[in-house]
């Protein structure tokens, strides 16, 4: 089966540091991976999509990498701020690309 694995333990970092979250997948490499942010009591919000042939993608303070050898995507937030505190979800297409499987998410806490 096509699984997405994220470290379910919370990640605490100091404000201003770079946060790095990991997403590992099983089975064959998907055509793309997506990253979402979810705040308590809210639905997930799309952040970035990285395609299989893209090694790295950036958006403002966010950077995502896609390593098909390691079957892994890394999500970085540079110069982290307390407002970045949230749960971050990784997702991949499955089922013939007709649906998306989400990881359990990693809770990030940025400490002032």
């Amino acid at each position: 089966s096509q699984k997405i694995e994220q470290n379910s333990e919370a990640l605490n970092i100091q404000e201003g540091k770079t946060a790095t979250l990991t997403c590992n997948y099983t089975n064959y490499s998907p055509a793309y991976l997506q990253w979402y942010r979810q705040d308590p009591g809210r639905g997930p919000v799309f952040l970035l999509l990285i395609r299989e042939n893209e090694k790295e993608k950036r958006k403002e303070r966010l950077k995502v990498t896609f390593d098909t050898t390691l079957k892994q995507s890394l999500f970085h937030i540079t110069a982290s701020q307390p407002a970045d505190s949230a749960t971050y979800l990784c997702a991949r297409p499955t089922g013939g690309y007709q649906k998306v499987t989400f990881g359990i998410g990693t809770k990030l806490q940025v400490i002032p």
């Binding site: 690309y97 007709q98 649906k99 998306v100 989400f102």
Partner: protein
């Protein structure tokens, strides 16, 4: 513009009762998805619609769960004879066309509590 809306935001019901959860997708979005998120769990796919048809119902947990979509817009998720294990947040999302290429936009969810 208006995002995905869901109603009610909270629903408390007694075991054995039926409930209906509603989702209003973004206007013009042809694909619509239902997910369930239990405490400490990831998003669990339930069903998706392409237009008014549901090509994949494999995620529905049991035959007590059903969903429909009318007019290519509003969708209703119905849970019959609710059980305590049905307690969760039910999230709806929509995308412009199909999952393979499009970002999903999520609603705020309906928190269902079965007593």
């Amino acid at each position: 513009g208006a995002g995905v809306s869901q109603s009610p935001s909270n629903k408390v019901t007694e075991k054995g009762k039926d409930v209906e959860l509603r989702c209003d997708p973004i206007s013009g979005h042809t694909a619509l998805y239902w997910y369930r998120q239990s405490l400490g769990q990831g998003l669990e796919f339930l069903i998706y619609f392409q237009g008014n048809s549901a090509p994949d119902k494999s995620g529905l947990p049991s035959d007590r769960f059903s969903a429909e979509r009318t007019g290519g817009s509003v969708s209703t998720l119905t849970i019959q004879r609710t059980q305590q294990e049905d307690s969760a947040v039910y999230l709806c999302a929509s995308s412009v066309e199909r999952v393979g290429t499009d970002t999903q936009y999520f609603g705020p969810g309906t928190r269902l509590t079965v007593l």
